[in-house]
């Protein structure tokens, strides 16, 4: 897929939009050769990543939010307060010494940070101080940085809302009493901060205020082009304080070399490669063939090759592929504000008639994932609590091939005595690119079985999200090409943005069904405050069951990520980042 996160920063809601762009697809059985188990490798060598899109949108750590951002720059060039090991489901202290110490009933977090971590030139003699992380968090609220998740996870930090609204320049709740201590005070307990998960995002990559403040002025911050690096790699030639075009050409290439200031003994990342070259804008088919036939190449943002190459690859070059569940989900939104979709029985009839297996077939069959029957994907805490693979047990999700008789009985309950819909056609807005386009057309045909006619409009993916499905006033009834990826291993980042009524906004809306049910909203608000991981899983799992029972969305696929390399590359996937390659753990053979 254009990996999960490649799309539009969706204002205010901080969760990765995974969407299913052109040519996306996820792949495979959980089987296949997962290199994740062993992470030892040979040091040295140069690797080249082939991207089909234009790679990162910004060099600014405060902006990074998408899968490619994390894979190509986030994990390689900067260290965060907490980072993620390839198969880790809980954050690993990176700049921090340990997990946050929680006191005051969950309202105070104290984090000790390691001393002696250095910046790259021109600040090569300077070490990372707690105050640098305070500033890094504060600048994520600045409009010129354009961060996509700060409001969702950090707005309950005392004083954060004042900075977001421009009333204050510093967040009063974040303090640095000494160089190695960071204290965060909260208005109310926030589960995802207490566990450290939401601090394992690039907003916590240190930014020295005295150096960066001058670049953070103006309409768009230029700190990205002048940044100092803490990670194992830096952009080639950036040592003078400005990123030169030899190191970064927007939408063409990025070259990463070792960061001389990085001290291996303080970091858990092995960083085997000497040099990483990222090339953008390759044709997906061409890139896939090059990677599979060539040397020292890895797949980039368009992880799933076209079906023909996937088929050929999995039959003859299986050892070069790695396929694992990405923690993303695909679903079809049924807009509850459009008649007759306001009727729960009508929506259940639609879920019942959906042949989810046939929809999966449009993306590449069993290789791309497993058929979903509730929202929280496998491997995510809350998955088992919501029913696991078997699902919560609703009859309308029972048959993955669809159940026409059941759909008709739900339609009768909804007031259509013949078991067929007889009203006017419903507006459906879909992607105009394969394979998402085929998914929409297959769904259109399935709806026709119960008499539902749709006006199908096919537009580019960004238009579908930006202009239609994310804009309530367009009254789009059905959006078949939506998807969502996790921000980290916590079900809140999956469920809350999509189902909580408080998240409905007039543009950039991701609660596409405009689901709002007071009892569920209250349950979600309560679950956000839980700090105990077991309780959180329990609470979010129960919410998942409840909302699934209302059929706001037709969930149909728990995605796989399909990655592949040349024969001489040992790729390692990172499960936090939706199973994209972790370039700090991959190596040459």
């Amino acid at each position: 897929m254009q990996k999960l996160r490649r799309l539009l920063p969706l204002a205010a809601l901080g969760v990765l939009v995974l969407v299913v762009a052109a040519g996306c697809g996820g792949g495979g059985n959980k089987s296949s050769t997962s290199g994740g188990a062993s992470t030892t490798g040979k040091t040295g060598g140069t690797v080249t990543i082939l991207d089909s899109a234009g790679s990162v949108d910004s060099l600014d750590p405060g902006y990074w939010y998408y899968q490619t951002d994390y894979e190509e720059l986030g994990q390689t060039t900067q260290r965060w307060l907490y980072s993620w090991k390839p198969d880790g489901t809980t954050p690993t202290p990176d700049i921090a010494q340990g997990l946050p110490q929680v006191s005051d009933g969950g309202k105070t977090l104290t984090i000790k940070i390691k001393s002696g971590i250095k910046y790259s030139a021109p600040l090569a003699n300077r070490t990372v101080k707690a105050a640098d992380i305070k500033y890094a968090l504060e600048r994520c609220f600045l409009p010129q940085v354009g961060n996509g998740y700060a409001l969702a996870y950090y707005s309950d930090i005392t004083g954060a809302k004042d900075v977001a609204s421009g009333k204050a320049s510093e967040v009063s709740g974040i303090t640095a009493p000494d160089d190695t201590t960071l204290v965060i005070k909260l208005d109310k307990p926030v589960g995802v901060l207490a566990t450290g998960a939401a601090l394992g995002l690039p907003c916590t990559a240190p930014v020295p205020k005295d150096y960066a403040a001058k670049y953070d002025k103006g309409k768009t911050s230029t700190y990205g082009e002048h940044q100092v690096f803490t990670g194992p790699y830096m952009i080639e030639g950036a040592g003078s304080g400005t990123v030169p075009s030899s190191g970064y050409q927007p939408a063409k290439s990025i070259t990463l070399v070792r960061n001389p200031s990085w001290d291996k003994s303080t970091d858990f990342k092995p960083a085997y490669f000497d040099k990483i070259i990222i090339k953008n804008g390759s044709d997906v088919s061409v890139a896939a063939r090059q990677v599979l036939a060539g040397q020292s190449l890895m797949s980039g943002d368009s992880a799933v090759p076209p079906p023909a190459i996937l088929k050929e690859g999995l039959t003859t070059k299986k050892s070069q592929f790695q396929i694992s569940p990405s923690g993303g989900i695909r679903y079809i939104a049924l807009n509850t504000t459009v008649k007759p979709l306001d009727n729960a029985n009508f929506r259940k009839a639609i879920v019942a008639v959906t042949d989810r297996d046939a929809l999966r077939q449009t993306r590449g069959g069993t290789a791309v994932g497993s058929v979903a029957n509730h929202f929280i994907p496998p491997d995510m805490p809350g998955f088992n609590e919501a029913g696991g693979n078997a699902g919560p047990g609703f009859d309308f999700y029972q048959n993955p091939k669809g159940d026409l008789a059941l759909a008709q009985s739900y339609l009768k309950k909804a007031g259509y005595s013949t078991g067929k819909y007889t009203g006017p056609a419903l507006l459906m807005v879909a992607d105009n690119q394969s394979p998402a386009k085929e998914t929409a057309e297959a769904f259109q045909q399935q709806l026709a079985q119960i008499g539902i006619k749709v006006n199908l409009r096919e537009v580019p993916h960004a238009t579908m999200i930006g202009k239609f499905c994310g804009t309530p006033k367009q009254k789009v009834a059905i959006c078949p090409n939506l998807g969502w990826g996790k921000d980290f291993f916590d079900a809140q980042s999956m469920v809350d943005p999509i189902f909580n009524g408080k998240n409905i906004v007039q543009s950039g809306n991701v609660n596409t069904a405009q689901a709002t049910y007071p009892k569920f909203n209250a349950a979600m608000d309560k679950a956000e405050e839980l700090t105990d991981p077991t309780q959180r899983a329990q609470a979010w799992g129960q919410i998942d069951k409840d909302v699934t029972g209302q059929a706001y969305y037709v969930v149909w696929l728990w995605d796989n990520e399909v990655n592949y390399t040349s024969t001489n590359v040992k790729g390692v996937q990172n499960s936090f980042n939706g199973q994209a390659w972790d370039l700090t753990f991959s190596s040459l053979k």
Partner: protein, 323 residues
């Protein structure tokens, strides 16, 4: 019939050479066309195509193929890739398991529909405005000719894309007259294509209106509209037929291009252009999906072009290819 004087005079040469009895212009035209084997084969193909398009549902039943919009995962392999020609699907299936053969047949209906409707509209507008411009000259001519210049400079493809985007919601534009689909395609083609024919007609009328038979009609007291429609128009039959036949393949291609870009025929309906677009990403594994609609499009356009050339030769032997 005063109106055919011109044609008749052109053909006198041949009649004298033959030295036999006089023939009507229509007979002469038909005799010349019949000798053009390429044109006759093309004509035969077009007649065949029309029959196939009209009888598509019947043919599909006879052959035992599935209806064009019937999907089935039965004909896809475990990777969701389509299977090729077989006894069940003689031209293979597409990504949704639909039968390519029946979709190609139904695609012919779309192509011919566009060809006939859009061409008829543009010819109608073009002929009427072209005659007015040529006959009245002066201000009328200036207005129409400048309008033609403007339209010829119009980026027609962008116009179509813009229109389709603007009219994609609700009931479309102009009370549902224009919405993505054949409406936009026909509107855009008619909107721009009349200009070519109008220019040609204008030129012809400019010279015709000075001819003696027009003067004669006028001296007999004929009104302007009578002169335009009863005296001049019949003399324009030859160029109208020739240019219409040459515009048809252009229009078929244009419909295919628009459908390829997603603003023509809307899914799930079949169109050759849309099929080619869907086939592009998988052409290396499903050649049949691109080859059959592509061949249908190629042959159809070729047939209309060759027939157009043949008609031109037959109606206008002095200016034909072989002249």
């Amino acid at each position: 019939m005063t109106s055919t004087i011109d044609l008749a005079r052109e053909s006198t040469a041949e009649v004298e050479v033959g030295g036999i009895e006089a023939r009507s212009p229509l007979e002469l035209f038909w005799r010349r066309l019949r000798e053009d084997r390429v044109a006759m084969v093309s004509l035969g193909f077009i007649v065949f195509l029309v029959l196939v398009a009209v009888c598509a549902p019947l043919i599909i039943k006879l052959v035992g193929a599935r209806p064009p919009n019937a999907q089935s995962t039965k004909y896809l392999d475990s990777f969701g890739t389509p299977t090729g020609p077989s006894s069940k699907n003689i031209m293979g299936v597409d990504q949704l398991g639909r039968d390519v053969f029946s979709r190609v047949l139904y695609g012919a209906r779309v192509s011919l529909e566009v060809a006939i409707v859009a061409t008829a509209i543009s010819v109608l507008i073009g002929v009427v405005l072209g005659m007015f411009a040529g006959f009245y000259r002066g201000a009328v001519d200036t207005v129409i000719s400048r309008a033609i210049d403007v339209l010829l400079a119009f980026p027609i493809l962008l116009l179509a894309l813009g229109l389709a985007a603007a009219c994609s919601l609700g009931n479309g534009c102009l009370h549902g007259l224009i919405k993505p689909g054949l409406g936009v395609v026909i509107f855009v083609i008619a909107f721009v294509n009349w200009t070519y024919i109008a220019r040609i007609i204008r030129g012809q009328v400019l010279s015709l209106r000075e001819k003696e038979f027009i003067e004669a009609a006028r001296s007999l007291g004929a009104s302007n509209s009578r002169i335009i429609f009863r005296e001049i128009l019949p003399n324009l039959v030859a160029p109208i037929i020739v240019y219409s036949t040459l515009i048809i393949p252009q229009n078929i291609l244009f419909e295919a291009a628009l459908s390829y870009l997603g603003v023509g025929v809307q899914p799930p309906n079949a169109s050759w252009g849309a099929m080619l677009a869907d086939a592009t990403p998988i052409f290396d594994s499903a050649w049949w999906y691109m080859v059959f609609p592509g061949a249908a499009l190629l042959l159809t356009v070729l047939a209309f072009n060759l027939l157009g050339d043949g008609l031109q030769d037959a109606l206008n032997p002095k200016s034909g290819r072989n002249a």
